[in-house]
Amino acid sequence: MDITPSELMVTVAARELKDGESCLVGVGIPNLAANLAKRTRAPNLIMVYESGTIGSNPTRMPLSIGDPCLVTGAKSVVTMYEQFAYYLQGGRIDVGFLGGAQIDRFGNINSTVIGPYKTPKVRLPGSGGACEIASNVKKIIVITPHEKRRFVEKVDFVTSPGFLDGKERWKTLKLKGGGPYAVITNLGTLKFDEATGEMTLVAVNEGVTAEKVQESTPWKLKIADPLERTPPPTAEELRVLRSLDPERIYLG
């Protein structure tokens, strides 16, 4: 069967996870990416969930971040306060996944509201732990479909700070985290300019051109030279990934 966009995004995200790292995982696509990494190149990946489970080892797909299967066989389970204080603010998480309705060119993310805060057009769930993850984790990875309504010049609301309006101002906040690291989409991979913090297209997926990515991005997109091509999933990556979501709830 053909490789779906979700399968490609999950595979690319899994390759960003290194063996021995600690990873703050969310449900759905990030969970698949973490579990794929753990079952292939990063067997010692420490999976941490916002609900306070440390070193989870789920035998089935968790259906929420508080799923009981994340507790069974975990290394530790701590209170909500301890999770945020000891693990996140304590600087013990290497990689975190974030998602949202909107992301802008400096990686600021909105998961709070579309339209004005006090008279919302669409009210979204809000931060949860996203602001803490953005502020304290060393590398932030965002997996999102590449659509114009999601990639916006300026987010309606900054729920999770990226590099704000550029890295200079971000530095003045002295956040302990490393900020946005990669945005993985169905079209390619974007990373952030070392000096300015601006989102930069670094790789395009099979059959995608830089022009196509620009068409789905409302600002003049910075493009790396040379621009890489995303290596397709290997047979082994696909086999493991498809076994993780046999009912294809997330893989499409």
Binding site: D67, P68, G73, F84, V158, L173, K174
Partner: protein
């Protein structure tokens, strides 16, 4: 000994939850005290300030039923499914009535409980800076760190009038054993002025004393003890029953309109007397499906010379 603490949920809510109270029904996905929420709805409590990191379906129901004046929260989604439609209707359309909100991050809200529980004047945290939340919530402030001179975000303590905490087992005095995802239960119990504790099982004090590290809440914080099996359904109780994920998905459909939500509440909340009657309406086959496989911990030696 205060044996008067043991009572029904009906009695506990009637005695310890009052119109206008600030209430915290604890539980991060796990151990959410739905039976207490339903009893609050049945008793028509109103003008409540409802606090929960994750309002979840329980507060969505209480908002639809008109119990809430204000919501203090950090993540208002249906976990693993999507939106909380009653919450959204209240904010986007003022239906059934408008709802005031006070919004934090997860660390901000759990930090508020921690500060409330430990009697701190406020709690500094490395969060909120760079986010738009402080612009819209004047309770999130910044102070100058007296040591480094840098700006630091702070949140105020939260001391609810009443907290409701569900646990796996407790003795009749309210010494509570909790395991699995322990969320904000301990902090909510220590922060609140009154605590209603419900338990799947009431056990002897000897059982509690055999495993004291598992006691997150000691009896002297607790005002009411309710023996309430299946209290947390459709959320879950680790080791007793799993989360009813089908219902979390169905809730999205049930709440498409305010009227369809009220039809549900009429049948499943107003139309039953208590949790036992509610559970009678759930098919046995479903209950059996929700029973978890055993995964027993290895006993430890608490002995001394």
């Amino acid at each position: 000994m205060d044996s008067q603490k043991l009572m029904t949920m009906n009695e506990a809510i009637s005695k310890f939850v009052h119109d206008g109270d600030t209430a915290y029904l604890a539980g991060f996905t796990h151990l959410i005290p739905f039976a207490a929420g339903h009893e609050i709805i049945r008793q028509g409590k109103k003008d409540l300030t409802l606090c929960r990191a994750t309002p979840d379906i329980i507060y969505d129901q209480m908002i639809a039923a008109g119990c809430a004046r204000k919501l203090v929260f950090s993540y208002a989604g249906n976990p693993g499914v999507g939106s909380l439609r009653c919450f959204r209707r209240a904010l986007e359309k003022g239906q059934p009535k408008s709802l005031e909100i006070e919004e934090y991050t997860h660390f901000g809200l759990s930090g508020r409980l921690f500060a409330g529980a430990t009697n701190m004047p406020f709690l500094p945290l490395r969060s909120n800076l760079g986010s738009d939340l402080p612009t819209y919530n004047p309770r999130i402030r910044s102070v100058t760190d007296p040591y480094s001179g840098e700006e630091v975000s702070v949140v105020p303590p939260l001391n609810p009038d009443v907290a409701v905490v569900h646990v796996q087992r407790a003795d009749a005095l309210g010494n509570a054993h909790i395991w699995g995802i322990i969320g904000e239960q301990k902090d909510a119990a220590f922060a609140a002025k009154k605590v209603i504790l419900s338990a799947e099982e009431i056990v002897s004090e000897d059982v509690i004393r055999s495993d004291p590290n598992r006691t997150l809440i000691p009896d002297f914080l607790v005002h009411a003890v309710v023996h309430e099996p299946w209290c947390a359904h459709p959320s879950y109780t680790q080791g007793y029953y799993d989360r009813d994920n089908e219902f979390y998905v169905e809730w999205d459909e049930i709440t498409k309109e305010h009227e369809t939500t009220m039809t549900y509440l009429d049948e499943w909340v107003y139309g039953v007397y208590d949790r036992a009657e509610y559970m009678k309406k759930i098919p046995e086959a479903k209950k059996a499906r929700l029973r978890p496989k055993p995964a027993m911990s290895v006993p430890v030696n608490f002995g001394a010379v």
